[in-house]
Amino acid sequence: MIRAMIIDDERLARQELRTLVEKLETVQIVAESGKPEEALDLIDRENPDLIFLDIQMPGMTGFDMLNEIEGRAPEVIFVTAYDEYALKAFEVNALDYLMKPVEEARLSESVNKVAKRIEARQEHAEEGVENEGKLEINDQVFLKDGDKCWFVELEKIRLFESEGNYVRVYFDNSRPLILKSLNALTDRLSEKFFFRASRKHIVNLRWIEKVETWFNGGLLVILKDGTKVEVSRRQSVKLKEMMAL
């Protein structure tokens, strides 16, 4: 059963969608909300697998709301009346949207696609200890830089690099700048997969190709795409310990 949530500022629009979704036997609506701020709390509490999200809402657009999600980003199906421009801003990866009024066949098609993605992710998911709500390698996050948005699975992210108050995120061919601190990210990312190399960098351990010794007992990490990242002396000791295991 997919645990889903509906976010739309219009009560009738929510009700209409609920009626349609409840006909599908694979989805259960666990919550609905008409206010973005309230919705954020509900997402935190209910941790839904999927949200149906309206783009144009008062106070905050659907994109801005996603950007505020602290934990892992759920799967999202956008539901919109006529926002071709808003949707164009989106990098097409994993983007799914429905047009109001929603067609039943299109809805079940979208939901099936999402169900497959969720299933694949669960199969893929690492066996083992729960990481106290930290982000795992198969979780996806939502990134927003100006008008552009992405959903990215953490395993694709090679490197986080701090730039002033921002962090640059390296994945595929994109490198958006997001308003977050590297410290906040370190707290949220699972240590099993991400390593704080220095004050400036967090690297994805799975992307490390080679480790070389560097001056002063430090280390130099070379990623699979050729990027070189210096590891501070203190962190080098830690990395050596980890590698020794």
Partner: protein, 345 residues
């Protein structure tokens, strides 16, 4: 750039052709091939190229390219004669220097006529190409203009239909069919009225305010079904003002903006109040809505405002105008002034 490449090709090709033909003529006439005959041919070729190229330079510098055909004919005729005289002069001098031929310069020389004819034909080709090109360029420009006009017209129509509103209304109606079938029915009728009026808007120049109010009421009923408790509407229309004539969809456009930039942006919604007052010979319509007006806000709204202002001044001249501004901290006030006697200029 492309033009000048064509020019050089035509220049070389044309003169080569001329030389080829004149060589054939010489051969036919049975003249024996000697160094001086071949030299002569090359000399004509080289001189033709150089002098016609200088001629082109002069044409461009003197602005003949912009002249029409009737002022060109006498100029080209004169130029051909002068060029032929010059050509012949140089030809005779070089022949003397190179081959030791005697200098004979006579105005009755048959060669002079040939040269003049040559330059005349050269000009004919040159200006034909120029005119043809100018014609094509004009045609492309016209097509581009037409395409731009069509696109503008399409956009105007689409904006007038307000697709965002239509699809949201449809969605509301779908939900109402289950919840409140009676209301669903009346909303369909209201939506039909609004759509009909926007389709007919282009047909009339002015309609009575009372008629416009009916449409705006229908429109606001639909938005109320959608926003529910987040939208309240108040009307306060002064007696006697309903008869005043306004451009169709004028009030509608303003109220749509009140929803789009005001109510839709407020999490708790707000109020729209429409009131009219009759003064001496004018009617003032005030539209108040919750929200804040930002003059540097979205460009589409200021474009819409500009459009409405234009329509007012087209219909009423200086007597019809619109103002918009903040009214207190939480309201925007739009005022439209319409003269009672539609004093069309």
């Amino acid at each position: 750039m492309k033009t000048s490449r064509y020019y050089y090709k035509a220049q070389l090709g044309g003169w080569s052709l001329y030389i080829l033909i004149s060589s054939l003529v010489i051969l036919q006439s049975g003249t024996s091939i000697s160094v001086s005959v071949i030299g002569d041919i090359y000399l004509v070729f080289a001189l033709g190229l150089i002098i016609s190229h200088l001629y082109r330079y002069a044409i461009i510098r003197m602005g003949w390219l912009e002249k029409d055909i009737f002022s060109l004919i006498p100029r080209v005729g004169l130029a051909s004669v002068l060029l032929a005289l010059g050509f012949h002069g140089v030809y005779v001098v070089i022949r003397y220097l190179a081959f030791g031929k005697e200098i004979v310069y006579s105005f009755t020389d048959a060669n002079l006529i040939t040269w003049a004819m040559l330059f005349f034909i050269w000009s004919l080709f040159y200006f034909t190409y120029i005119f043809f090109q100018r014609f094509r360029r004009e045609e492309i420009k016209n097509l581009q203009l037409e395409a731009a006009r069509n696109e503008y017209e399409l956009r105007r129509l689409r904006d007038q239909m307000n697709p965002h509103f239509i699809f949201n209304a449809m969605n509301t109606i779908r939900a109402l069919i289950d919840e409140d079938p009676q209301k669903a029915k009346s909303t369909v009728t209201q939506l039909s009225n609004v759509l009909r009026s926007s389709l007919q808007a282009g047909k009339q120049e002015l309609i009575p305010l009372s008629k416009e109010i009916e449409i705006v009421k229908d429109y606001l009923e639909i938005e109320k079904a959608r926003y529910e408790e987040r939208l309240t509407v108040e009307w306060n229309i002064a007696k006697g003002s309903e008869r005043v004539e306004i451009p169709p969809l004028l009030l509608q456009t303003i109220v749509e903006n009140c929803i789009k930039h005001g109510i839709a942006k407020l999490p708790d919604g707000g109020r729209i109040m429409i009131q009219s007052t009759v003064m001496m010979d004018v009617v003032e319509i005030d539209i108040l809505n919750s929200g804040q007006y930002d003059p540097e806000g979205e460009s589409d709204s200021s474009l819409g405002l500009e459009n409405t202002r234009n329509r007012l001044s087209l219909s009423f001249g200086k007597e019809g105008w619109l103002t918009i501004g903040n009214h207190g901290k939480q309201e925007v006030k739009t005022t439209v002034r319409i003269p009672i006697k539609s004093s069309k200029t």
